[in-house]
């Protein structure tokens, strides 16, 4: 499903911020904002909810912890009980290092994969890039032509001092 977006480029954070604030004041719905680096203070301004990635991470970590703990416990007490160094079968202190590593491994891999999947990214994925300078030094606001209207969007961008205005069907 393709949609047409109107976007404008700004060269400073200040210009970007004042434009976003103004758009909010006029109840113009911003489609997306693109920046060359993470700009702090943008999230609350755009009303982005806090990322819930860490909750997913906790669950992955717990899974890893339990996998290692239960797995090693099962192996060393039921499946293949052996005495090593005069220690009991179920010698928990010796399991701790692997429990820890497995927790970290599950959490890190799980979260990273989740991040790429929910962000629609992956090797070779071709997401539309509105302007090549966005990953360099320009700050970009885009409006959906259907939601806001081409004329309104363009005049808004012009008025707020966008350096370059363009449109793209994505």
């Amino acid at each position: 499903m393709s949609k047409k977006v109107i976007f404008g480029l700004y060269s400073t954070e200040e210009a970007l911020f004042s434009a976003i604030k103004k758009a909010k004041g006029r109840h113009l719905e911003i489609d997306d904002v693109f920046t060359p680096f993470p700009v702090h203070g943008l999230d609350p301004l755009l009303g982005l909810k806090e990322s819930r990635l860490h909750i997913a991470g906790f669950i992955y970590g717990l899974t890893g912890f339990l996998t290692a703990f239960l797995g090693m416990s099962w192996v060393s007490t039921i499946d293949w009980p052996n005495i090593f160094g005069g220690k009991p079968y179920w010698s928990v202190p010796a399991f701790v290092p692997i429990m820890f590593e497995s927790t970290v491994l599950f959490a890190a891999v799980g979260m990273t994969v989740t991040f790429y999947v929910i962000s629609g990214m992956g090797p070779g994925v071709k997401n539309p890039v509105l302007h090549p300078r966005i990953t360099d030094d320009k700050f970009c606001i885009s409006f959906s032509a259907d939601e806001v209207g081409e004329g309104v969007a363009e005049s808004f961008l012009q008025e707020t001092g966008a350096e370059e205005i363009g449109s793209k069907t994505i």
Binding site: H40, G85, G86, K87, P93, A94, V96
Partner: protein, 421 residues
């Protein structure tokens, strides 16, 4: 409000706390039936170690920020300064221990008993280090150098309030130098000090990690007390610039150092458990068998609970939760030190009174309850309250002596507008 004054009510509370402490100490002394008043003296050593350690770690923490450009600290660094100055209490406490060592007031240390050492090959070998003179020298070196540096940092910091100018960093540089020196002296002398003061209570036993482990325990205790003092002042309307952002940072430190403490605990325990060398395992054997409540309670209070409670970001920004955790950890690490002090002293008592023959090396009878040793009793808690009252009282007096806001600090604006990213 940045200028702190002690209210009459606060003084009264501290006096009452100290009164409780004095009463407990006197009662302990009178009721102590163990040879050499072991309960009384071990309580004293326990509190001395705990509060001296807190003051030393306040200096250490402050120094890390001074050296590492830790700007967030400025709005609460006066509290750390005041806490680090309480090393003077530490000097007083250890003066008593040292004099007691020479005057034979106490028998805390088995190695101080010449007759015993003469018949003990291992202790004879160690007597070059474990003797009252070396004990005195290293105690003076450690506490003296720390107190000297703490007071120098404090002096530069207070002078900066008056003479500092915007863009002039002479005092900052001075403090940075003292901070670096503090790190080094604490790094070296805390190890020696802890061996002498604490590890030698179990004179046959040794562990290379012990000093760092103890220091990390002190560190968490210091952060907890710091949190409580700041939040109290905040509640009284002082320190207006201390915000949730700063509390969040302290919370992160408490979390991080608690995990670090657990790491050191595990490293020490696991290696001794794994190696299973009799000379080393005896330390944990005694504690697991005869002090199970404290041994496992220690882990739950100082690792499991703070780990789970401080894992989410939100809890570090809630005053109530932070107060709870600070109280929990202050008591938790008090118990940790208790567990390091008491079994060793009890063993000394048994050795010196020849009781170990009766109690038996296998220690079945030794598992019987000994008041003030197996678990902290009311007298121990009372003594703790007394020492805490004294520590807080002198800290608060030092707090009144300078503005709570270091107005000319190099990082003051940064710190005031600090945001946890």
């Amino acid at each position: 409000m940045n200028k702190f004054t002690i209210k009459g009510k606060e003084k009264t509370v501290f006096m009452i706390m100290m009164g409780i402490g004095l009463l407990s100490v006197v009662l302990t002394f009178m009721t102590d039936s163990l040879p050499g008043k072991a309960r009384f003296w071990s309580n004293f050593l326990h509190e001395a170690l705990f509060f001296t350690g807190i003051a030393a770690m306040a200096l250490f923490y402050m120094s890390t920020a001074l050296v590492g450009y830790g700007g967030y600290m400025s709005v609460f660094k006066r509290v750390l300064e005041a806490m680090s100055l309480q090393l003077k209490l530490g000097i007083a406490f250890f003066l008593i221990i040292v004099i007691g060592l020479f005057m034979k007031w106490h028998h805390l240390y088995l190695w101080a008993d010449e007759n015993f050492v003469a018949n003990d090959k291992v202790l004879t070998g160690k007597s070059g280090f474990l003797n009252p003179v070396m004990y005195t020298i290293f105690t003076i070196l450690a506490l003296g150098s720390w107190y000297f540096l703490a007071s120098r940092i404090r002096r530069a910091s207070v002078q900066e309030d008056e003479h500092g100018k915007f863009g002039d960093y002479t005092f900052t540089k001075k403090m940075q130098t003292y901070g670096a020196l503090s790190l080094v002296t604490i790094g070296y002398f805390s190890a020696v000090g802890i061996w002498q003061w604490l590890m030698s209570l179990d004179p046959h036993w040794y562990s290379t990690l012990f000093a760092w482990y103890t220091a990390s325990s002190w560190f968490v205790a210091m952060l907890s007390l710091l949190t409580l003092i700041i939040l109290y002042l905040k509640g009284q309307g002082y320190m207006p610039y201390f915000t949730k952002e700063h509390m969040h940072d302290i919370g992160k430190f408490i979390f991080g150092i608690s995990v670090f403490w657990s790491y050191l605990w595990f490293s020490q325990y696991m290696l001794i458990w794994y190696g299973n060398v009799g000379e080393e395992t005896v330390y944990f054997k005694v504690r697991v068998d005869h002090y199970p409540v404290l041994f496992y309670g220690n882990l739950i209070m100082n690792f499991v609970l703070p780990f789970l409670l401080l894992l989410p970001n939100t809890t570090k920004r809630m005053r109530g939760t932070m107060v709870f955790i600070a109280v929990l950890l202050l008591i938790g690490h008090w118990i940790d030190i208790f567990l390091m002090v008491k079994p060793g002293v009890l063993h000394t008592v048994q050795e010196l009174s020849g009781a170990h023959e009766a109690v038996g090396e296998h220690g079945h009878e030794a598992s019987s309850f000994v008041s003030g040793f197996t678990l902290p009793g009311f007298l121990e808690i009372g003594t703790f309250i007394g020492f805490l009252g004294l520590f807080l009282y002198t800290t608060f007096i030092d707090l009144t002596k300078a503005c709570l806001l270091p107005v000319n600090d190099a990082y003051i604006e940064e710190s005031i507008h600090h945001h946890v990213v």
